[in-house]
């Protein structure tokens, strides 16, 4: 929000008209799903809107200036999305409290993301992008947090968007595939995977718990109850978990890793090290 004047953004009617038309067309097309094994690839209007918008950048319709002006709309649009998620949680507060401490502690499992993916990201050569990528599974509230804190064009913003887009396109099918596979292939109980299915996205939860039910039909009701409660909890606490635990921990671990690799480089000496 700091780089472009909001006044010029508001007056960029070419940009807004194009966005309005994109939204109308993509929402009118609607949703498609492609079955892939036990899961589905969900094709949602927001995906068409993203790729059409991106395509337009390479036509004369959208200039560099229009593209720059779009950024504040993203940041403030995300605030509306967070408000909508908030008012969805409020009415369910009693169900959340009843779901209990087991569900709460299971949320700490999200840190698995940081311990598994952050070292991999750094190893693959990512720098500050890796903070955005691995501090969470990059759903809307986490994108909101990163965009709000670092800006959309920052390395952190690019990182969180990369995982967000991966999750939007492949998240449901990927979790659907691995939940059935892991529940049948590992000694862990299917109800543990049911709780893990509630990552904070309805479509991902549906795909992940759906293939669990396929593998264990006799546990259907329990799987749905555990996955639903966990998803509710992830939705309601995910953002604050990221603000107070996930993001600070990721930044801390990142700086430790960077310091270590710098020291190693220094010790190695020589111009080629």
């Amino acid at each position: 929000m700091e780089k472009v004047e909001l006044k010029t953004v508001i007056k960029d009617w070419r940009l807004h008209a194009i966005a309005f038309i994109l939204v109308a067309i993509t929402e009118a097309i609607g949703q498609f799903s492609i079955a892939v094994g036990p899961g589905v690839i969900l094709l949602l209007p927001m995906l068409y809107a993203f790729f059409l918008g991106l395509g337009l950048y390479f036509t004369p319709l959208i200039s560099e200036k229009n593209a720059k002006n779009a950024e504040p709309l993203i940041i403030l649009g995300v605030t509306l999305l967070i408000a909508k998620i908030g008012v969805t949680i409020g009415p369910q507060i009693e169900a959340i409290i009843a779901a209990g401490p087991a569900l709460l502690l299971q949320e700490l499992g999200n840190l698995g993301t940081i311990f598994l993916a952050l070292p991999l990201a750094v190893l693959l050569g990512f720098r500050r992008e890796s903070i955005g990528m691995t501090h969470s599974i990059a759903r809307e509230p986490n994108v909101g947090l990163i965009v709000n804190k670092f800006g959309f064009s920052s390395p952190e913003g690019r990182g969180v968007m990369a995982v967000y887009i991966f999750g939007t396109v492949f998240g449901a099918v990927f979790l659907g595939l691995i939940s059935g596979l892991l529940a049948t292939a590992t000694p862990l109980h299917p109800l543990s995977f049911a709780m893990a299915s509630g990552v904070g996205s309805g479509s991902m939860m549906a795909a992940a718990s759906g293939s669990l039910i396929g593998a264990y039909p006799e546990l259907e009701e329990q799987i749905v109850a555990f996955a639903g409660a966990s998803n509710l909890l992830s939705l309601s606490t995910g953002l604050y978990f990221s603000i107070f635990i996930g993001l600070p921990l990721t930044e801390k671990l990142y700086s430790i890793m960077m310091r270590r690799s710098e020291r190693k480089a220094a010790k190695g000496g020589g111009p080629n090290a």
Partner: protein, 150 residues
């Protein structure tokens, strides 16, 4: 501050129009039925943005906005019935579509950077999803066994 608030209101209103269009075409909710809910969401966002500027804590605006939205929709909060029924007219995906439309347009100028993320970011994203899924399942397993549920 006042200048910022007026400009935020304009940007939120423009975005709100895009979302109402999407809500209409995608969920068949006529815009005038969704306007009260949209005004509630815009008001909550504005208050959150103002709190971020006015208060000395380092909490981002989305943090205030989330808490505020939860509080006003709690069953015992006066008027929460209206808040919930008005905002239920706006689908979450109807808000996500314009965000992604503007994001697609905006990403164009960063396209070179995005392409650099490429295949490696695909691998990291897989590790991100595997990590949270397996991490949560392991902790759930331990606690459920301890509670004697499984």
């Amino acid at each position: 501050m006042l200048k910022s608030v007026i400009e935020w209101t304009w940007v939120l209103a423009i975005f709100g129009i895009a979302a109402l269009i999407g809500n209409w075409f995608g969920m068949d909710v006529l815009p005038w039925n969704a306007i009260p809910g949209m005004l509630v969401l815009i008001a909550v966002s504005l208050v959150g943005l103002m709190l971020e500027k006015a208060l000395p804590f380092s909490m981002p605006a989305v943090g205030y906005i989330g808490i505020l939205a939860i509080i006003i929709s709690l069953p015992w909060f006066p008027g929460s019935d209206y808040v919930v029924s008005w905002t239920s007219q706006i689908g979450i995906l109807a808000l996500a579509t314009p965000i992604l439309a503007y994001a697609g347009i905006s990403v164009g100028s960063n396209w070179a950077d995005f392409r650099k993320l490429g295949f490696r970011s695909f691998l990291v994203a897989i590790a991100v999803f595997l990590g949270t899924f397996i991490g949560s399942a392991l902790i759930a397993e331990v606690i459920l066994r301890w509670q004697g549920i499984i």
